[in-house]
């Protein structure tokens, strides 16, 4: 009996830290160390706690070494530690050549397990995050539009604030707040240790031992809550001095990676708006046929910084996702037409379903592109961690099992169950907010003019698009200055 208890205790101690090793012959070793905590665990009055904590660890000194000493030691190895904080996950990642494995790992471990928490590091990193909002996000209209959309949809829930927090809240956060967040959230139960490459055999176990110095269990965190029901469509216009108009449109969906509709919606979404590819309907119709802008895409999972990246980063797992359409900046006179055009295309998809050839192509694309997304060992470990979090078979395997069985009818049924063109939120970044508000609240047609003749198919559709009802009333549209978000 005593033995059994000891055995169980050992098993539970081991089970606390989840090790995700992937050995290969590569001379490069990739680390992905993921804590299952993030902005959703921010204390209610302290948005930004998760982000500030994570960035202070990754961009500060350790108990023994100052920031400069750590950076000096990492420099000849070209070692870096990236951090990405999201709602449910905080991922630290780095890649190092085998020559430098031990030296790099020592610093990585110290940064995460024995952080320095120095006041001067804290003020520097805090200023960096404030600047990332004030100077970064607010001068990137597309990202701003998308983040405002998420904030608006999830308002009143733990997902309802920008992941980095707000300027106001960050300014108030103290080093003690960060220490408290670290104490409560950086625990063994919240930890995935991912490693891939040609590491020595005993290396993963050594890592697990090293991270046992973290507290075993995590502290309190707010309960997850679904996004509130959207009763009527609404729009939020972020006003700033800018050349063009950036637009995001969305609503919450229940089809996360662990829901049965996910593979079908992934195919439907790829058909409608595969990220940064010329394959989607939105891209073809709005950019290629009409020259409205640089591109138009749609999403069923959070995809940050889409203007800067071609592939989604792993470890952005969430309990609830939104469906969103990203309309890249348009000339101001075409803003309303562009919104109408996107909703027209979405409506076509819902009413008529995916055409047979479009279905075949999109399914082929998704089933092969997933091999590309997971081609690096770094990505493989990231996707593995996500699949464990969602309690799923590995991502590639899951899709390769599900996709061949999908029929066009399955896709169309999933579209009808999950997508809609009403009860949505439109987020817009524009210069003349009040003018745009008047335009959006009116049912007046918004015809478009072109610099060249268009095929009849296009002009015929334009006649429908220019009158497409948005269902927005004056009271559903708010105008907010950019300095007030997030």
């Amino acid at each position: 009996m005593k033995q059994l208890v000891a055995l169980l205790a050992a098993a539970s101690a081991c089970a606390q830290i989840r090790l995700v090793p992937s050995f290969s012959k590569s001379p490069l070793v990739a680390f992905r160390i993921v804590f299952t905590t993030g902005a959703a665990a921010d204390p209610a009055e302290k948005p930004g706690s998760a982000a500030l904590t994570a960035h202070l660890l990754a961009e500060g000194g350790t108990r023994e070494l100052t920031y400069r000493q750590v950076e000096d030691a990492l420099f000849p190895m070209a070692g870096s530690l990236d951090v990405r904080v999201d709602k449910e996950m905080t991922a630290f990642s780095g890649i190092i050549h085998l020559d430098n494995l031990q030296g790099y790992y020592k610093l990585l471990r110290a940064r995460l397990v024995e952080p320095g928490f120095r006041e001067d590091d804290f003020t520097r990193v805090k200023e960096d995050l404030i600047n990332a909002i004030r100077s970064g996000l607010r001068n990137n209209d597309e990202d701003l539009g998308k983040e405002v959309l998420y904030e608006n949809i999830f308002q009143g829930t733990p997902y309802g604030h920008y992941t980095l927090g707000t300027v106001e809240s960050l300014e108030k956060l103290t080093l003690d707040d960060v220490k408290a967040f670290y104490q409560s959230q950086y625990s063994q139960t919240n930890l995935f240790l991912g490693i891939a490459g040609g590491y020595p055999t005993n290396f993963p176990e050594q890592m697990r031992k090293d991270f046992r110095s973290l507290p075993e269990g995590a502290g309190f965190r707010p309960r997850s809550k679904l996004a509130p029901l959207i009763e009527n469509s609404r729009a939020v216009i972020v006003e700033k001095d800018t050349r063009s108009v950036a637009i995001s449109i969305g609503f919450p969906i229940m089809a996360g990676r662990n829901v049965v509709d996910y593979p079908a919606l992934l195919v439907a979404n790829s058909y409608l708006g595969q990220h940064r590819m010329s394959y989607g309907v939105l891209y073809q119709q709005m950019r290629q046929a009409r020259g409205l802008n640089y591109g138009n895409y749609s999403y069923i999972e959070y995809f940050p910084n889409g203007g800067q990246r071609m592939e989604p980063p792993p470890n952005l797992a969430r309990r609830q996702q939104i469906f969103d359409i990203w309309i890249r900046p348009v000339e101001p006179q075409n803003a309303k037409f562009a919104i109408r055009a996107a909703l027209f295309e979405l409506d076509q998809l819902i009413r008529e379903g995916i055409p047979e050839d479009g279905f075949q192509r999109a399914r082929d694309f998704v089933s092969r592109y997933v091999n590309f997304l997971t081609r690096t060992q770094n990505a493989q470990v990231g996707y593995s961690i996500d699949s464990i979090w969602y309690n799923l078979t590995p991502y590639v395997e899951m899709l390769h099992n599900a996709l061949p069985k999908l029929t066009r009818e399955d896709i169309n049924a999933a579209i009808k169950r999950n997508l809609r063109t009403n009860r949505l939120v439109i987020s817009i970044v524009a210069k003349h907010g009040e003018d745009l508000k008047l335009q959006l609240a009116s049912d007046e047609p918004s015809p478009i003019t072109y610099n060249s003749p268009k095929p009849e198919a296009v002009t015929k559709e334009d006649k429908i698009i220019e009158k497409w009802p948005l269902g927005l009333k004056m009271e559903d549209i708010t105008v907010v200055p950019a300095e007030k978000v997030p």
Binding site: P76, Q360, R361, P481
Partner: protein
């Protein structure tokens, strides 16, 4: 490395390099990453070639036009074929070159080669399609325009250069972008001039064998006709005094100062580029004394970085610093001037120079995580010198650097007369009451 051993080449993969009779070059790099093949087609035409007034940004527009299809593979067929392959495919334009890439499974390489060869030889764009695509380019300008760095970059280039085509950015001047729809006939001329085998290198990296790829290239690209055009690219004259400019940004943003010095053209046969690359790190990266003082200790700067010139023609050594407060701009600017002066006067520590060499070596190695990443690294060297060997030669120059070389490069290029300084200041945050009507 054992003493006396021959220096190892920094690029660890064996590759083949062959020229077709028409002047097209093929570089094949078999890697040990399974299944995936990255094809990068590099055309040595960039915004540098835009010598005619009113045509800035045209090279980039032309990159877009290359996706408009041919008789055999009209746009929809081309796009849909790639879609069924699960291809990651796109293109980009720089000051010096245009690159088109397609990343697919190895069994799809023959189709990719056939389609690529077809569009490079038989592109067909109608005038309405041309005009519509010009609007997509304006859209691209618009999406960049909300970023103050874009404006800083534009003003810096325009101020530093007078004759060089680096005076305009790759996107081009806004007025030229807005006038693009009128230039249809010029697009035919542009294709005829530059989309020619002697301007082009095909780079294939991944799960492939060189001989098989050569067979495909002979078959699909062998009939491509050589051209005869060479652009006369004006050379910048020596600058005789420091220059300054000011940018007012309409929204609140961190104030910034960009300081640029006229540097050399890229070289892999002399130490100049290598020395300036090392200096950018020694003087301005997070391990530098200046960074530690301005960013870490005093916290007057939010960011500081420098980049060395690496272009076909002489281009800029740039230092960009963002200050936390506008009142500190003069101070951080003067600190940069002082640092440059110190590098002209004193020798750097040999151990720190060695750390820089290691950093660059391992930095390159850790990037080589996939076949497409390797192709992406080689693309620039292929554009500059038409061979991956340029990468090895450049790292040989880095390996041979001495502290004296760094000082000599600083003395030669980072002079006051070679300098352009641009200040960017943001708007003051507006009072809430003043916004909205």
């Amino acid at each position: 490395m054992a003493l006396g051993a021959p220096p190892a080449k920094v690029f660890p993969y064996a590759y083949t390099q062959e020229d077709l009779p028409n002047g097209l070059r093929l570089v094949v790099v078999p890697t040990n990453f399974p299944n995936i093949v990255a094809t990068y087609i590099v055309v040595k035409v960039g915004s540098r070639n835009e010598v005619e007034p009113g045509h800035t940004g045209f090279t980039h527009l032309f990159e877009h036009l290359m996706f408009k299809g041919t008789e055999k593979f009209p746009e929809a067929k081309y796009t849909q074929t790639l879609q069924r392959m699960g291809a990651a495919s796109n293109a980009y334009t720089t000051d010096d070159y245009t690159a088109f890439y397609t990343v697919v499974s190895k069994e799809d390489l023959p189709t990719v080669m056939e389609m690529e060869a077809d569009r490079f030889q038989n592109l067909k764009v109608s005038e309405p399609e041309f005009k519509t695509e010009a609007l997509a380019v304006l859209g691209e300008y618009n999406k960049n325009a909300s970023n103050p760095s874009t404006r800083l970059d534009e003003v810096l280039s325009e101020t530093a250069f007078e004759r060089s085509t680096y005076r305009h950015t790759t996107m081009g001047f806004l007025k030229d972008i807005q006038a693009m729809p009128t230039l249809y006939d010029y697009s035919l001329k542009f294709f005829d001039r530059y989309y020619r085998p002697e301007y082009t290198t095909i780079l294939v990296v991944g799960d492939v064998k060189s001989r098989a790829v050569r067979g495909l290239v002979d078959r699909f690209w062998g009939g491509w006709k050589r051209g005869s055009y060479t652009a006369e690219i004006p050379q910048e004259e020596a600058q005789d005094a420091p220059r300054t400019a000011q940018v007012e940004w309409p929204a609140p943003t961190l104030p910034a100062v960009a300081i640029a010095y006229k540097g050399p053209a890229f070289t892999d046969t002399a130490k100049d580029t290598a020395a300036l690359t090392a200096m950018a790190l020694l003087a301005f990266s997070p391990i530098s004394d200046l960074y530690q003082r301005l960013v870490v200790t005093e916290q007057k700067a939010a960011t500081l970085y420098a980049s060395a010139p690496d272009h076909l023609d002489p281009s800029l050594f740039q230092i960009v610093v963002r200050a936390q407060h506008e009142g500190d701009l003069d101070y951080v600017r003067d600190q940069i001037y002082e640092t440059v002066k110190a590098f002209q006067e004193k020798l750097v520590d040999a151990a720190r120079l060695d750390a820089v060499r290691k950093h660059l070596h391992y930095g390159l190695t850790v990037q080589m995580q996939s076949s497409d990443a390797i192709a992406g690294i080689l693309t620039r060297y292929v554009a500059l010198r038409r061979t991956p060997e340029a990468l090895n030669r450049f790292y040989d120059q880095l390996a041979a650097l001495t502290p004296e070389d760094i000082r000599a490069a600083a003395e030669k290029y980072l002079t006051e007369n070679n300098r352009t300084t641009v200040i960017l200041a943001g708007a003051k945050p507006q009072a809430t009451a003043a916004v909205g009507r």
